[in-house]
Structures are given as C-alpha cells and as structure tokens.
Amino acid sequence: MATAPEIDAPADPLGAFRSEVRDWLAAHFPPSLKGKDNAMSAVEGPHENSPEEDAWQAAMGEKGWGVPTWPSDYGGGGLSRAEARVLQEEMARIGAWNPIGGMGVMMFGPTLLEYGSEEQKSEHIPAIAKGTVRWCQGYSEPGAGSDLASLQCFAEDKGDHYLVNGQKTWTSGGQWADKCFMLVRTDRTKKHEGITFLLCDMDTPGVEVKPIRLISGSSPFCETFFTNVQVPKANRVGAEGQGWTIGKRLLQHERSSLSGGGSAAGRLFAQGTPLAPLAKTFVGEDEQGRIADPELRGRIARHEMDLRAFLATLRRASQEVASNQGPSATTSIMKNVGARLIQERSELLIEIRGLAGLGWEGEGFEADALKDARAWLFGKAVSIYGGSSEIQNNVIAKRILGMLDHQ
C-alpha cells in the first residue's frame, strides 16, 4: 500500500498529540528495523530477537502502545480510537511496526477485559500488553471443529480446582505458548450451557503438546493432550457454564482481527509483493506499457479493486463502531472477503511467476517467491480457521438475514 500522505500538522485537531507521537517514535524506533516486520512470524514461530527488536518491543510495551486502546490501568495505551489512528499513521509514515501481537492481543485480551475478574485482568493484561506472555487457544477437538459446542474435554469440579482430561487439536503455537485459554465441558447433560472458560498454564503437569506439520512445511500447530491436569478455580473466567457466551465473544474478536482490520491480513496486504509490476516482469509489456496478457491484467485489476472495496469497507465499519460497541456480526462478512482476497492474491502471484512461483526450497528461486509459495499454502487455512467461510455464511444468514437455523 502507498505510504500515508503527509498530514498537515497545524490543521490537525490532534496536532499536539501527533507531534508527541512523532518525537517518541523518533526517539525509540530503531531505523534499522524499518519494514522488517515479519507477517509470517505467527506461523513460523518466535525467532531470536536482535537487541534492536528487544529494545523496540520493550519500549512499546512500556508505553502501552502495542495495545493502544486498552486501558492504561492494565498497561494499555489508554488512547482514543482517533489517537490510535494517529499512532498508526505515524508508524506507517516511518515504516515502524507493532512488535506486540499474538492471540493474547488479538482475542484473549479484549475478551478478558470484558469478562475477567479484577484479579484476572491485573494478572494477565499487563503481560499481554508488554508481549511477555504467549497465549494459545484450546478450542478445537478432533470431533469439535465447526461444531465447537460439541467439545468433550472434561473439567471435573474438585473443590479448589478442576481436574481436566481430554484432547484439543489444531492448537496454534501450543509448543511455544506459556498459557492456554480453553473451553472445557463441565456438564455433559447440556450442550452449550455445559461449557466453561478456563485458563491453563502450559507447564502444568499432565499437559502434553505434539506439533503437527502443515502442507506449507511449517509446524505451528499442535495436538494438545490433558491428563489429570489441575487447574485452580481462580483460573475460571466468568461463571461455570458461561463459557459458550464468553468463547463466542472471543471468536468475534478473532474474526475481526483475521479479516484484516487487525494485524495479520492487513500486514500481508501492506507488505506483500505488488502484483502489477511483477506481472510486467514475468509476462512482459505491450507497446503501450500494459501487462502483455490482457486477461491476467483484467484479473489483477479486479483483484485490486476488490481489495480497495474491502479496505474501504473496513474503514467505514471501524468509523461506524467508533462508539466502541465491539465487533458485530458483519465481522463474518469481512472475514470471508479478507480470506478470499488473501487466497486470490497468492494464487495470482503463483500464476504470474509460473513455475518460478512454485519453488519449495533450494537453488534457483527468489527469496520472495519462496516465501510467497509457503504463504500460498498456509493461506489455505484462513478460510478454515476462526470459523470457516461456510460457518461465517451460516452466521450471516442466521444473525444478519434472520434466516432459519436448520441445525
């Protein structure tokens, strides 16, 4: 995406704040990190930070600007949405990026702020805001994917703690996580009302993690087994049996961040290889400097137009929820469009490069092309996780259109 236009400071109502942000960024963002953000880090796992990256993360964590709109009482930035936008613009202007991310930021933090007890918020939110504790999501099970509420992992009430037994699967980042937020069954007689939201330390005895390799070659997700795992009652969020309500709220946050309004998808678009110049290189230009293959040119134009419509809709939606009511059911629409665009872009990149876009490893390929090929394969998941596109369509039909639920 083009860099943000220069903003005329004097006419800007947030001018004073803007110059404060500029000064702070100038003092703290190491220019050597410009554009070094790695959109794939969530997939490939944490890497060794350089001292500059450590310093940048510490500075942003201290300031709370990694989670700019979270309350400052819990280590957030305490900024208004308008101020947060200024921060984002100023970071984009100098190629700075947010070093604080992950599931804690995307989905667990906002949910805990809404449903957690005072103790839970003070314990967990500051660590998420500083990026020092990694969370993973223990929702899916072999028999409970789209039909999440049929989960079986059972937590038995033992007075001061729950005894958890069962299996989770597709647990992204399970092998790197410090903690897990999970949905467990506390009552076998009721489907939705029998679900409870628990927080579990991954180093509790009885938690076992087995990484699974993906078609892209990386192994970011795991099978996670729980055998007589003791989870203190204090780690229950909300009431027993309220887990489904809380868990669904978290899924809305997941959807909205996956749609590109949040981090991952937006970063992919922003940093991704631009299609048209690449097509000119690989396919050639006609006498008038257009992409030589008119059909491909048409499809690239259509994709870029859809992308702009998508980004415009994200902006409009974010202005509409400026009243801060949190994500709504339209996040399902945006998640589906975002997923389609990410996948379409990857397919176009491959088509443009021909066989040079399908390299797996080794000699003879551009580094970017290898990265794009892996991203293409991993990207097949964006229409599956966080509620598949089919499930989002069901949500759209039921919740927005008021259509009948046949299940």
Binding site: G354, G359, N393
Partner: protein
C-alpha cells in the same frame, strides 16, 4: 466416456488395479520422504515398463504397443488418481517427437530402449518459468546446441533430451556439455534446470510445427493426468463429507456443500469429454488438434484448480496437515496447471485459432 476398444478397456482396468494395489498415494509419500535424486519411484517405473506402458506410443516394429494417445491418456489418468511418481508422461512427450520427426535411424536407436523402459526421456522447451514456445533462443551450430532450459520435468534423470531450438527440435543424448541443476518445486517431483553448452545434437524433421505438435501432445497427456487427479480428489472429498459428523449430522447433509459437490461433478464430466476429445483428435490425425488440446488443457486446469482447493477447504483442519493427502493434490495441481500452458494461455490460443 469415450468408446473404448477391448484392448483399451483392458489397459485402463489393469492400470487402475495396479495403481490402487501397488501404487497408492502412500507410495508417493514414501518417495517424497526418501527424496531420491531422480525424484521418481524407480520400482513403479520398472513395473510400468514391464507392463508395456513405456511403449504405449512406440510402434510395434520398435517393440512397443503402438496404441496411441487415448490409451496413454487412460493410463496417465489412473496414475494421476494416485499421484504415481514416474517419468511416463515426460518420456511419452519425448517419444512423440521421435515418432513424428525422427529419422529411421533415430527411431531405431531410441524407440526400442524407450519401450523397454531403459531410457527416461525429457522434453525441454521453456527458457523461462512460463510456457512460451515462441520465445526460444537456444541455437545450434555445427551440430552443437547451446541454451538453458528451465524446469525440465524429469531433467534430473533423463538420458535423452528432446530440446527446442529456434528452428525446431533436436535430440541431445550425451552428457558432454550438459549441466543439470535440481529445482525443487512444491510437488516434490523432478524439475531440473538444464544447461546445454555445445552439446552434440541431432535435428528432428519438422521445424517449428513439430514443436507445436509435440507440446500439444504433452499438454494432452498432462490433461489426462489432471483429470485423474481431479477425479480422485473429488471422490475422497465426497467420501469425507459422508463420514465426517458435525452438528450431529454428516457434512454431506448440508445443502450448501451438496451444491458445491454437484458443481464439481458437473465440471468433471465436461472435463472428461474434452480431454478424451483431444486425445482422440490426435489419434485420428484431425486438423484441429491444437484447438482441441487448448480446450482440454484450459478446462482441466480450471477443474483441477477448483477441486484441489475444495478438497483442502472441505476437509477443514485435517486437510491443512502434511499427514493428509489433500496437500499433495493441491501442490501437484498448480505445477501441472503451469506446465505446457496455463488456462489463460490456452484460452488465448483457442480464440486465435478461431479467428478472434
């Protein structure tokens, strides 16, 4: 389904049975994990040669079966179903060049060895990552060929190269002046960059027309392989939907998914007709082979693209794992889509051949 001779029906059934019993997708997985230098399954190739498949196109006089392209396609379709990793398609493409443009002596030298499965042959045309047969800079001077060919399928192990130069096809059989560098693509099959520097080369008759004839045959053969892949990917997905339970029902009870499967089946039916049509057009020497091949390859590309994507999507999380076969179909699909012309290339040529 095309009307098959008794011989063809037997060949198809035998290929299907062999692929299912002796070469399931698990065999491909084993080959991938073992990562042999040649990137094919040597045992499977030997077995195929013994069954006479390496010689399907080779005339009986040279030790082959002289059966033609529909027969070859029937076999490749069965192999495609299980992603069988052998150099049959590449060798057949090179064989067609010898049959169409080889001298008596060239045919006598190579065809019997090809039919016996002793020679892996490869067709080397492209000088970039996209199919562009009109852009060839390889030159031959005094019988010495120089040029670089990208992503030559089975280039790692080929004993005989059929190489496109500016004025037509050449045979390169020696290793002198030939450098191969492996290029690992997502499909875990053999694709090598092959550099020719003054390699001894023999001309085949037919000039640039021969390049078109041979690449058309290569594209038709791949279309058959792709048809088989699409069939298998579709069938596995269909089976999965009938067993996977969510919301207390099998997935196949959801109408949204039923309609998608119905659409894919529809596309598969159309694809089978045009793939068989192209192979028959070649066999009966019709004048419109190029048009039929473009129709077949463009259609097969689109269908396999759709089915391979849906296979991953409809399997959910399990389809994203390396442990499941869906990824193999997805990865191989994109490689074959790009080889010998992607859908856009063939649609463009189809339009040109029809005068618009």
């Amino acid at each position: 389904m095309a009307v098959l001779t008794e011989e063809q029906t037997m060949l198809r059934d035998m290929a299907r049975e062999w692929a299912d019993n002796e070469a399931p997708v698990g065999a491909f997985r084993k080959m991938r994990d073992a990562a042999p230098a040649a990137f094919y399954d040597a045992d499977a190739w030997r077995a195929q040669a013994e069954m006479g498949w390496a010689g399907i196109l080779v005339p009986e006089a040279q030790g082959g079966a002289g059966m033609g392209y529909l027969s070859l396609g029937l076999v490749l379709e069965q192999l495609g179903r299980n992603l069988v990793a052998t150099p049959l398609a590449a060798t057949a493409a090179a064989t067609s060049a010898l049959i169409l443009g080889g001298s008596e002596a060239q045919r006598a030298e190579w065809l019997p060895r090809i039919a016996a499965g002793d020679v892996v042959a490869a067709l080397a045309v492209d000088e970039g990552p996209r199919f562009a047969p009109e852009r060839i800079e390889t030159r031959v001077e005094d019988g010495r060929l120089s040029g670089t060919k990208y992503f030559v399928a089975e280039g790692d192990s080929a004993r005989l190269f059929v190489v496109a130069a500016a004025d037509g096809l050449y045979l390169v059989s020696g290793d002198e002046g030939v450098t191969r560098s492996a290029r690992k693509l997502v499909d875990a099959r053999s694709h090598a960059e092959v550099r020719f520097e003054g390699a001894r080369a023999e001309k085949l008759e037919g000039g640039r027309d021969l390049v078109t004839q041979v690449t058309d045959r290569a594209a038709a053969a791949l279309s058959a392989e792709m048809l088989g892949m699409a069939e298998a990917a579709f069938a596995q997905t269909n089976d999965y939907l009938k067993t996977r339970v969510q919301f207390g029902q099998v997935l196949s009870s959801f109408q949204a998914l039923q309609h998608r499967m119905a659409k894919m089946l529809t596309e598969l039916e159309l694809t089978r007709s045009v793939v068989e049509g192209a192979l028959e057009a070649i066999d009966s020497g019709r004048a419109n082979v190029s048009q039929e091949v473009s129709l077949a390859k463009a259609t097969a590309n689109e269908t396999l693209h759709l089915v391979s994507r849906e296979m991953v999507q409809l399997h959910g999380g399990i389809g994203m794992t390396d442990e499941h076969d869906a990824g193999f179909y997805l990865k191989r699909a994109r490689v074959l889509e790009a080889m010998w012309g992607n859908a856009a290339w063939h649609r463009d040529r189809f339009a040109r051949l029809n005068g618009y």
